[in-house]
Amino acid sequence: MTVGNTTTQRSADATGTGATVEIDEVAVRFRTKKKDVTALRDVSLRIEPGEFVAIVGASGCGKSTLLKLVSGLLRPSSGQVRLHGEDVRGPRRDIGYIFQRAALLEWRTARRNILLQAEMRGMPKAQARQRVDELIAMTGLTGFEDAYPNELSGGMQQRVALCRALLHRPPVLLMDEPFGALDALTREQMNVELRRIWRETGTTVLLVTHSIAEAVYLANRVIVMTPRPGTVAEVIDVDLPVERDYGQTMSAPEFARATGRIRDLLGATTTAE
């Protein structure tokens, strides 16, 4: 499989710091009629080009909020967010976003749901169609191109969402619990797939997950967050080889160390989980 690497790397940037994502002392407060919620406070992060970073934390600690900040769908109440060195002011289109729910259009078939990305961006039709075929084969959706979302399993729907997010070869991929609805086996397969896609494309990935194993297997760094108001409790460097066989990784001492540390942190900071 040839997945081009041309548009994925954008190392140099305006400020010259070289980071793909920079978050500086960010706080997010939601004002609703009943009460004010501080979702995030005092969050600072730096993500280098081509990194795979996982974010774990209790439910409601602001993980989705963090991704929405990076994509520009949400503006911080204070602090700064930069993508490729530019201040994020509005929705960014140089990203691929996978939402917590698959968010497919029920009136479009799998293929046409993926093609939505191309249509909105005005990509050349023939090129887009070829790319869709490529992605469908890669994610094992062959044979279901013309099925409607209500005819697909939850896992297949998520794979369609993954294809859609990858279609335009975004330099940054933001994934919000993409595999939450999958059974354990499919989830493992998707993890192996995602790791392979990441290695082939060099995309910078931010992955929110509830699975500690998934976070450690996939990521180079795992950000552990505290419960609301969310802030970074600790950043764990995962010292596993680049080439990660699933079974071998699960039994590696480093895997046990990292997952153990994350579990301790989450246990120490959460009561519910």
């Binding site: 929705p91 976003y97 939402f99 259009l105 029920e106 939505l116 909105m120 044979g143 993890n191």
Partner: protein, 292 residues
């Protein structure tokens, strides 16, 4: 790489599943019509049963013929003056369809404006509600005064009747869209026009069609109400005349043609729904085969 080989296995088994889904959903207009026919034979049977009961009641002389004429007499009245009935049916159909069409255009457009501008919505809603709650039969004479004796006051009443369900259903439909779909659209760099065309409007279609079905029947009522107030043609006029002459067979004929007109319009909208929203209609038939 055990996991990867399982994915390949999945790919190999996939086409079987695909053929299964293909037999379940043969695409195209023909399949839509077939589904439609399957779903309409039951109400048709009920209709035949009602006709049968009507015929038996009159044949057994359970009611006086001048109160309830027999199906045969009613049919004879129509066959005796086919031109007369055709003309008045055509007039009412014309008023109804024109009123319905105008209501769709005006209704959908106002709904779109209201969804995109909360200010307009807040100022228009009370007005809409007012136009809806005021009895049409009470304001219809005013339209006769303003617009004369011709077709236009009837069309206006039909528009007024059909407008409201269309606006409400379209507004509801466009607002029911998952906010994440709109955010997704933003990350794709889509502008408001693209988001509307590809996401908001299609998402509102099932709601819109529900409103259209209500509106279709309302449009018939509107046209006939307009004719009741002042007309020299149309089914409303036929019914009023027959009533004055105690001519129950003509009255019955007029009533039946009028109801048929409403039903036909309703069925046309439903047919369109089957053709335009295949995914939606299919889910409806699917739910009939499951236990829920």
């Amino acid at each position: 790489m055990a996991a990867q080989s399982t994915i390949e296995q999945r790919e190999r088994t996939a086409p079987a599943g695909a053929t299964a889904s293909a037999t379940r959903r043969p695409g195209g207009a023909g399949a839509g019509l077939l589904r439609f026919a399957r779903n309409t034979w039951r109400p048709a049977a009920v209709l035949v049963a009602i006709l049968l009961v009507w015929w038996m009641v009159t044949a057994a002389d359970l009611v006086k013929p001048y109160l309830v004429p027999s199906p045969g007499t009613t049919l004879d009245v129509v066959l005796a003056q086919p031109g007369y009935f055709a003309h008045h049916t055509w007039i009412t159909t014309y008023e109804t369809v024109l009123g319905f069409a105008i209501a769709i255009v005006v209704g959908v457009l106002s709904a779109v404006v209201m969804v995109y501008s909360p200010t307009v919505e807040k100022s228009l809603y009370p007005l809409l509600l007012f136009a809806q709650v005021i009895p049409k039969i009470a304001i219809a004479p005013l339209f006769i005064v303003w617009l004369g004796f011709g077709l236009s006051p009837k069309v206006v009443v039909a528009v007024l009747m059909a407008f409201f369900p269309i606006v409400i259903s379209t507004v509801t439909g466009m607002k029911s869209i998952d906010p994440e779909m709109l955010q997704l659209s933003a990350t794709m760099g889509a502008g408001p026009a693209q988001t509307f065309r590809k996401i908001r409007f299609p998402a509102a279609l099932p709601h819109l069609f529900a409103g259209l079905k209500v509106a279709a029947t309302m449009a018939v009522t509107g046209a006939v109400v307009g004719e009741f107030v002042g007309a020299n043609e149309g089914l409303g006029y036929v019914i009023l005349q027959a009533n004055g002459n105690l001519d129950t067979p003509t009255l019955f004929a007029g009533l039946i043609i009028m109801s048929l007109l409403g039903v036909v319009l309703f069925v046309v909208v439903e047919l369109l729904e089957y053709l335009v929203l295949p995914w939606h209609a299919s889910r409806r038939t699917d739910s009939a085969t499951t236990t829920l």
